[in-house]
């Protein structure tokens, strides 16, 4: 049972780590989109939708 709990905790840790990878990528991607929007329209985006 203890082993199962440890494995589950590891799975939760991996899920949270995956979300952290995604969050970091999203921040970098927002910067790219902002730069492109400013070049195209002169304005920065007001919001973003992450899918």
């Amino acid at each position: 049972m203890k082993n199962e709990v440890t494995k589950r905790e590891d799975a939760i840790r991996r899920l949270n780590a995956a979300k952290a990878v995604k969050a970091k990528a999203v921040e970098e991607m927002k910067l790219i989109l902002t730069e492109i929007c400013i070049k195209q329209t002169g304005k920065a985006p007001t919001s973003f939708e992450v899918l």
């Binding site: 995956a18 995604k22 790219i32 492109i36 929007c37």
Partner: protein, 168 residues
Amino acid sequence: MIHLSEGDINRTSPYTVRVVEGSRAVFTTDYGVLYIISFDKDDTSMSRTTYQFVILNANNRQSPRDKKLRDTIISIVEDFFNCNNEVMLYICETGDGKQAMRNRLFNYWFSSFINKGQYTLLQSSVKDEDGTDNFFAVICRNDYPEAKKVVSEFFDIVILFNNKPKTN
């Protein structure tokens, strides 16, 4: 280091795609919505390196049932697999509670892609410690050298989450 081929993508993509920073693709839809797609290296989620498929748009605008959007996304993903025989991981964003809708959108986008029979798609959802449903998918080419191990690990993870051990 993975890469994308702008030339190959644009041979099949309805929208003109520009590759930036090697592994990110940018395009604008007929509705004027600017999208970016990325494949980010992830060494922590599984026992092997995966690449997270991340997509976002500017100004929070949608392109409802835009077939050209779907076909452009598929062109980019196909190119990812043509250029890199790697494992792709997709986790639906959960921040606003719309993850089930995103999962349906993912299914709409990828149904025709998977029907080509060259890929293995694994999908599930698990509840995290807050009770939030997390929809996720793993895709690899059928000829990925460790495809069977990917399938096995995927189901191990799902079983671990869904069989919550008793604490008494």
